[in-house]
C-alpha cells in the first residue's frame, strides 16, 4: 500500500445485518450483507477517479464510509490522514460531498440563505466565501437562481446549486455520488466542464460514482470498477478492454451470399446476413492479417472495423464476474 496516498483504503469492509420477515412466519430472519467486502486502494492528491459498478455494488456505501457517515466493519481507512468515522467533524471541513439523489441544501430556503448558513457552519472567511460563490455562480450559471427556494429549482439547477454548496469552503476532496443522474445533455456538459476545470486549476481531488460512462471518459484517467463489494478493476479506462476481454468486429461485405467464413486465424464469424458477415477478434490484435486472409480466400467488396463499446465491456464485466 502506498503511504503517500491521500485517500487510503486497506481491506475495508462494511457488513450490514439485515432482518427480513421469513416467508409465512411471524419471526424474522437475520442474515449478513457484505456491502463492501475487502477493498484496498489509494488515491493521490489531485487525482480524478471514477468509481463505477452496477446498482447495489457498494459504491455509495464506500463514499459514506469515506465521509464518516458510516463506520467500516473492518479494515483501515484514511482521508488526508484522518480516520473519517472517528473524526467526522474535523474531516467535514476538508471535504465536499454532493449526493445526486438528495440535496444538502435546505429545501425551504433560497439558495442565498443556504449558502450563508454554509458559510457560518464551515467558518469560511467572508472574502473567500464571496470569491468562491461568485466563481461558482459564473461558471455554473446560477446568477438568476440565488433568491429561489431550493424546492422550486429544477433537478439540473439544484445539482449545480449543490455542487456550489460543496465547494464554498475550498475542500481538498470532492466526493460526487452520481452527480449527473437525471440531468439533460446541456446540464451534464456544464457540470463536467466545471469539474474538469476545478481539478485542473485548484488541484481538488475528485472521486465520483456514476452510471454514465461518458462522465468517466471525459473526466477521469483512472477508473475503479466494483461489484459485489469487491474491487474488480483499478486502472486506466482504456485498460478495461484487455481485462474485459473485449473484441473488435470486422464487418465484411462479400460479392454474394456465402456460407460463414471459416479458417481465418485469430478470428471467428459471429453473424451473417446476406452478403454481409461479422468477424470478431481480440481488441488487442491487429486487424491487418485478418483482412488479408479474408481478401485472399473470399470475394471481398468492402470492409469496416468496429471498436468495442466500453458500455459492452463493462456490461460483460458485471455479468461475467
Amino acid at each position: 500500500m502506498t503511504d503517500d496516498g491521500f485517500i487510503v483504503l486497506e481491506d475495508v469492509e462494511k457488513v450490514f445485518q439485515v432482518r427480513r420477515r421469513a416467508r409465512g412466519r411471524l419471526r424474522r430472519e437475520r442474515h449478513e450483507v457484505r456491502a463492501v467486502d475487502g477493498i484496498s486502494c489509494a488515491v493521490a492528491r489531485g487525482e480524478m477517479v471514477g468509481y463505477i459498478g452496477p446498482n447495489g455494488a457498494g459504491k455509495s456505501t464506500t463514499i459514506k464510509m469515506l465521509t464518516g457517515i458510516l463506520t467500516p466493519s473492518g479494515g483501515r481507512l484514511r482521508v488526508a490522514g484522518i480516520d473519517p468515522s472517528r473524526q467526522r467533524a474535523r474531516l467535514a471541513r476538508r471535504i465536499g460531498v454532493v449526493f445526486g439523489q438528495r440535496t444538502t441544501l435546505w429545501w425551504d430556503l433560497p439558495l442565498r440563505d443556504s449558502y450563508a448558513l454554509m458559510r457560518r457552519m464551515y467558518r469560511v472567511p467572508e472574502a473567500r466565501f464571496r470569491a468562491n460563490l461568485d466563481r461558482c455562480v459564473e461558471l455554473l450559471d446560477l446568477g438568476g437562481l440565488l433568491e429561489v427556494p431550493v424546492r422550486q429549482l429544477s433537478l439540473g439547477q439544484r445539482m449545480r446549486g449543490d455542487i456550489t454548496a460543496a465547494l464554498l469552503h475550498d475542500p481538498e476532496v470532492l466526493y460526487l455520488d452520481e452527480p449527473t443522474i437525471g440531468l439533460d445533455v446541456v446540464s451534464k456538459a456544464t457540470v463536467r466542464r466545471f469539474l474538469r476545470e476545478l481539478n485542473a486549476s485548484l488541484g481538488t481531488t475528485v472521486l465520483l460514482t456514476t452510471h454514465d460512462l461518458t462522465d468517466i471518459e471525459q473526466l477521469c484517467e483512472r477508473v475503479m470498477v466494483i461489484d459485489h463489494g469487491r474491487l474488480m478493476y483499478d486502472g486506466a479506462l482504456g485498460g478495461l478492454h484487455e481485462v474485459g476481454e473485449s473484441e473488435r468486429t470486422l464487418v465484411v461485405d462479400l460479392e454474394r451470399e456465402l456460407p460463414p467464413i471459416e479458417g481465418i486465424e485469430g478470428a471467428r464469424t459471429v453473424r451473417t446476413r446476406g452478403p454481409r458477415q461479422w468477424l470478431a477478434f481480440p481488441a488487442s490484435a491487429s486487424a491487418a492479417p485478418i483482412v488479408s486472409q479474408v481478401a485472399d480466400g473470399y470475394p471481398l467488396v468492402d470492409l469496416s472495423v468496429r471498436e468495442p463499446d466500453i458500455e459492452d465491456v463493462i456490461a460483460r464485466m458485471y455479468s461475467g464476474l
Binding site: F16, R45, G46, G56, S60, K64, T67, G68, I69, L70, T71, Q87, R88, A89, R90, A92, R93, R94, I95, V97, F99, Q101, R102, T103, T104, D108, L109, D113, A116, L117, R120, M121, Y122, R123, V124, P125, R128, A131, N132, R135, E138, L139, D141, H169, D170, E172, D177, T190, R193, E197, L198, A200, S201, L202, G203, T204
Partner: protein, 298 residues
C-alpha cells in the same frame, strides 16, 4: 458560457484552505460552545425565514396560544364543580400546571424538531447532516426551528404568574430559587427525553409515537396533583422516567405538603442532579444512536 479560469493561481493545498481552529480538536467544552453557537445561527436563519410571512407567523402563535389555553380552561371548568382536587385548590394546581408546561414549552421550543428525526433517518437526509462540521445534535435540534412554539411558553408563563399571585405561600429566597431551579432542570429533563427519543429512532425508525407518549403524555400527567393518581404510577414516574422531578416534588415542597410516597425530604431538591444525569444519559444514547445509523441504500 465563456471559459473562465477557476480562481487563477493554483493554491497550495498541503494545508486546509480555510485556516480556522478545528472545533473538534479543542476538547468537549469548545465543542459544546461551538454547538450552541451553531444552534443559534441555524435557528436565527429559520426565524428570519418564517418572519417573511409575518401574518402567518402571528396566526400560528395565536393558534398555539389558544389551544394551550383551552388545555388549562379544562382544569378551570373542573374546579367550578369540585372545590379541591386531591386536596389541592385551583391556584395550587395552576402552580403545578404552570411549572410543568413552562418547562415543557421551553424544551419543546428548543428541541421540538427532534420528532422529525425518524423521517430523516428513514429517508436518508441524515446523511447531509453528518457531512457538515457542526455537531449533529445542534443541527437536528435547530432544524426548522419553530418560534410559534413560543405560544405554549407564553401561555404557561401567564398561568404561572396568576398562580404565584394567588397561592398561599410564604415566599423566601430559598423557595424562589427552588422554583427557578425547578423550571430549568425540568426543561433539561424534557430536553434529554427528546434527545433520548431521537436516539431511539436510529434503532426503531417509527418510534416517534413512543417518544410522544413520554413527553406529551408526561405533561398531561404533571398538570394534576400526584395525589389523584395511583401510587404505583407515581412511583414509576418518579423512578423509571424521572418526570416527578420536573415539578411534583419541588412544588409540593414549596406548598409545604408531603409527597404521597413519603420520600425523605432531600429528594425534593434532587432536580438538578436528576437533570444532569438525564442529560448525560441522553448524550451517551445519542452517540450510540449515531454509531448505529445505517443510512439508506443510495
Amino acid at each position: 458560457m465563456a471559459e473562465v479560469p477557476l480562481g487563477g493561481e493554483p493554491r497550495a493545498l498541503s494545508a486546509p484552505a480555510v485556516d480556522v481552529p478545528e472545533p473538534a480538536a479543542e476538547g468537549p467544552w469548545a465543542r459544546l460552545c461551538w454547538g450552541v453557537r451553531a444552534y443559534g445561527f441555524i435557528a436565527a436563519m429559520w426565524i428570519r425565514s418564517t418572519m417573511v410571512y409575518r401574518g402567518s407567523f402571528l396566526m400560528m402563535v395565536a393558534g398555539s396560544l389558544t389551544l394551550t389555553a383551552l388545555d388549562f380552561a379544562a382544569i378551570v371548568i373542573m374546579f367550578s364543580h369540585v372545590g379541591a382536587l386531591g386536596g389541592f385548590a385551583l391556584p395550587e394546581v395552576a402552580l403545578l400546571y404552570g411549572t410543568c408546561t413552562a418547562s415543557f414549552g421551553l424544551a419543546d421550543l428548543l428541541m421540538g424538531s427532534f420528532d422529525k428525526l425518524g423521517t430523516r433517518v428513514r429517508d436518508g437526509t441524515m446523511d447531509t447532516v453528518l457531512v457538515r462540521p457542526v455537531p449533529a445534535l445542534a443541527q437536528v435540534a435547530a432544524d426548522r426551528f419553530a418560534l410559534r412554539r413560543l405560544g405554549r411558553v407564553l401561555q404557561s408563563a401567564a398561568v404561572l404568574g396568576w398562580a404565584l399571585a394567588n397561592v398561599d405561600v410564604d415566599w423566601s429566597g430559598g423557595s424562589v430559587l427552588l422554583l427557578v431551579v425547578t423550571l430549568l432542570s425540568g426543561a433539561a429533563i424534557f430536553c434529554s427525553l427528546f434527545v433520548l427519543g431521537g436516539a431511539f429512532q436510529f434503532v426503531a425508525q417509527d418510534a416517534a409515537e413512543v417518544q410522544n407518549s413520554f413527553t406529551y403524555g408526561g405533561v398531561t400527567l404533571l398538570e394534576y396533583p400526584p395525589t389523584i393518581f395511583a401510587k404505583e404510577l407515581v412511583r414509576g414516574v418518579t423512578f423509571v422516567v424521572p418526570l416527578a422531578f420536573v415539578n411534583w416534588l419541588p412544588v409540593l415542597r414549596i406548598l409545604g405538603e408531603d409527597d404521597p410516597l413519603g420520600l425523605p425530604g432531600w429528594v425534593d431538591f434532587g432536580g438538578p442532579v436528576v437533570a444532569a444525569a438525564c442529560c448525560a444519559l441522553a448524550g451517551l444514547a445519542w452517540r450510540a444512536g449515531l454509531r448505529a445509523y445505517r443510512s439508506t441504500g443510495s
